[in-house]
Symmetry: C2
Subunit: 414 residues, 2 copies
């Protein structure tokens, strides 16, 4: 008998019909002889409805009270799902974040989980009941209701699985697993059987919206076996775990992309210490997040400094740079918000040279010009003109032979 | 400086506009130099929406989970009202029933308050904040969420006022006080300045829907000064208190009516001990509530036994009686579901004879036939044909001169 934590998001519980379908999935897991703890989000659209109400009352709603408001969304779902389970004669018991002591810090709207007291959950499981827990919410040390921020239900599920030492944590989504690339762009994209936390983190932060980054970090930290499954069709999904010597080791796991980027370049700034800070300091002060940063070595004591930001922050960042133009001693400021970032990700590349050159070669053969390059231990990202998004992703998917899964160690021609 | 508990019901907080209007009322009380604790219901229609969802999921929703679901309604309101207060720069803090330890028994859907730990509320008041509390809900000794049943927010407000030893508990409704009769039937009806708990209880149970009966009982038990006010217009409302020698003592406070009644008569049953039980036992077993009971002394060793039930239970009660007809040894069973009950209520009648005769005389002069009579210490009720409802109420209102408030002790001609 295993202990399984299941998590269903807003789309999966978006209507009474969907909640009934989720109840059937939960019961199937229970019937298979497992203890089941279910974590659910608010019904699809509910959080937005509540936010709209709050914004009608005040332009900047008080953050403590906003969490009191938003926490009702998940509370509705836990009650309805438990009602559905009870109606099918499967004893169930719902708990809010406060009731199972999901203790967080006091950072309203984006609280972080500190610990979970699993006593009550274990007691309820021992009574043979299915436990249904509200995701996304907790309680601080003073008993105030907090929420974890958008997508926080994934984190609740993983934290719960870690605290309960669950065998697996199943994240149900609207896709049946993690793919080698976005199937809307690459029809030949293949579902991955398994993936490491590191790869999933790179894929998540690079724009694959399957899982919330924080939940994967949490899973890695506490070594929670994470499985991405579809709410709507059967299948084994994708298992996300730590590295394992016995695991089939792909060189490249997948191709990710992100179209929410824009780049800014400060041209010909004096090449001296402190220049990066004088450029990015004012950007950070304006709460603009910077993604890639590239600085070339200068030839005439000046250098070009390029960085990317979210496309929504492009105009704001540009204005800040222009205001500081004199102080920076730059010749010129340029920018481009019609760019995309394409990345190849895989733990296998750690031990294999040649991935980068293969990537650049494949893109060059299609005439795709690379504007920026950035690398980490397990990924290589390039920035290209947005018109090359689909072509670039397909080209790389095929160059690394991801469609047939043959690029495993020892079998690779890289 | 006084401590005031204010309670606003579903209609008063039914929209963002209304919540803003409530915020202004709360601030006015606070500006007057008082500490303010606000108890609110779910937004009008919200409880019904949630119930509908539950009933779509299961025909008989699990009662524990139904309370988890329904409790979200008030939680939404406390958050929105606190957001509105904070946006006006009046520090506010919302609490669910669980957060302020409104401890109840475990009778889901109709729980009763056992005690309230006011430590947290008092601490928040001392910080100069307005406290906003979710009505209708509590928590049992095991930490399960409970609700008090329909109208339970009135009870929360009164219990809170009792626990905090508040100076007054203001119940905001859609009427500006308690009237001598329903103004829709008697245009000359007059708002009462004050009223005793006993009178309010009789008026409430007789069909005046201003206040929930349990909340008035609670107020009487703990001697909470209760004031009924309008959410929509200014005015002193009606103060409900214990009897006070200095209080202007009306003979008759008001005329109440109830059109939800039906009567059943068992004709010619043997006049012997145990007959009442043999008639009403099966009725009680079917969970039908009986209101009035009248039994005449028999002349030929038989008697007629008449009682009233809610009009919705009429057919069911009739069927039960007919099934038992042989056992009862009756000649005949008759019934009438086109009746109404009209009552005159007033603590003054305790010490004054002649109220009953004046009542019967006034009705007789209008040709209104009385079918049943029932009395208590401070009320006299009659059952008449429903066609006489308006005429009967108006006749009694005018017979006791309620329109000009002159029927006070010493001034009465009764």
């Amino acid at each position: 008998m295993a202990l399984i934590v299941q998590k269903f998001g807003g789309t999966s519980v978006g209507s009474v019909e969907r909640i009934n379908a989720v109840a059937d999935k939960v019961i199937a897991e229970h019937k298979a002889g497992n203890d089941v703890v279910v974590v659910v989000s608010a019904m699809g659209g509910e959080t937005d409805r509540l936010l709209k109400l709050a914004n009608e009352v005040a332009r900047n709603p008080n953050s403590r009270e906003l969490d009191v408001l938003l926490a009702t969304g998940e509370q509705v779902t836990i009650a309805l799902l438990s009602i559905a389970l009870e109606a099918r004669n499967y004893p169930a018991c719902s708990y809010t974040g406060a009731q199972v002591h999901i203790r967080t810090d006091s950072a309203y709207n984006k609280a972080r989980i500190i610990d979970i007291d699993v006593g009550r959950v274990n007691k309820t499981l021992k009574e043979g009941k299915i436990v249904v827990i509200a995701g996304f919410q907790g309680i601080d040390e003073h008993g105030n209701i907090t929420t974890l921020g958008r997508g926080g239900s994934d984190t609740t599920a993983v934290a719960m699985a870690a605290a309960l030492k669950a065998d697996e944590c199943h994240i149900y989504t609207d896709v049946d697993g993690v793919y080698t690339a976005d199937p809307r762009i690459v029809p030949a994209a293949r579902r991955l059987e398994n993936l490491t936390y590191e790869e999933m983190l790179e894929l998540a932060s690079l724009g694959s919206k399957v899982l919330q980054i924080r939940s994967v970090e949490f899973a890695r930290k506490y070594n929670v076996q994470l499985r991405v499954l579809s709410s709507f069709k059967e299948g084994p999904g994708t298992l996300i775990t730590g590295e394992d010597e016995n695991m089939e080791q792909a060189l490249i796991s997948g191709i990710a992309y992100n179209r929410d980027e824009a780049k800014l370049t400060v041209v010909g700034v004096p090449d001296k210490p402190g220049i990066a800070f004088s450029i990015l300091g004012p950007i950070a002060d304006a709460y603009i997040e910077v993604d890639m940063i590239v600085q070339n070595v200068g030839v005439d004591n000046t250098t070009d400094f390029t960085f990317t930001v979210h496309r929504n922050d492009y105009e704001k960042a540009l204005a800040i740079l222009k205001k500081n133009v004199a102080k920076l001693g730059t010749k010129n400021i340029t920018g481009d918000n019609r760019i995309v970032k394409i990345s190849v990700v895989g733990v296998g590349m750690r031990s294999h040279a040649g991935i980068a050159s293969k990537m650049f070669d494949a893109l060059a053969k299609e005439g795709i010009n690379i504007m920026m390059i950035s690398t980490s231990e397990i990924k290589i990202s390039v920035v290209v003109d947005e018109k090359y998004l689909e072509l670039g992703v397909r080209t790389l998917h095929s160059a690394f032979e991801l469609e047939n899964g043959s690029n495993v160690e020892g079998d690779s021609r890289a």
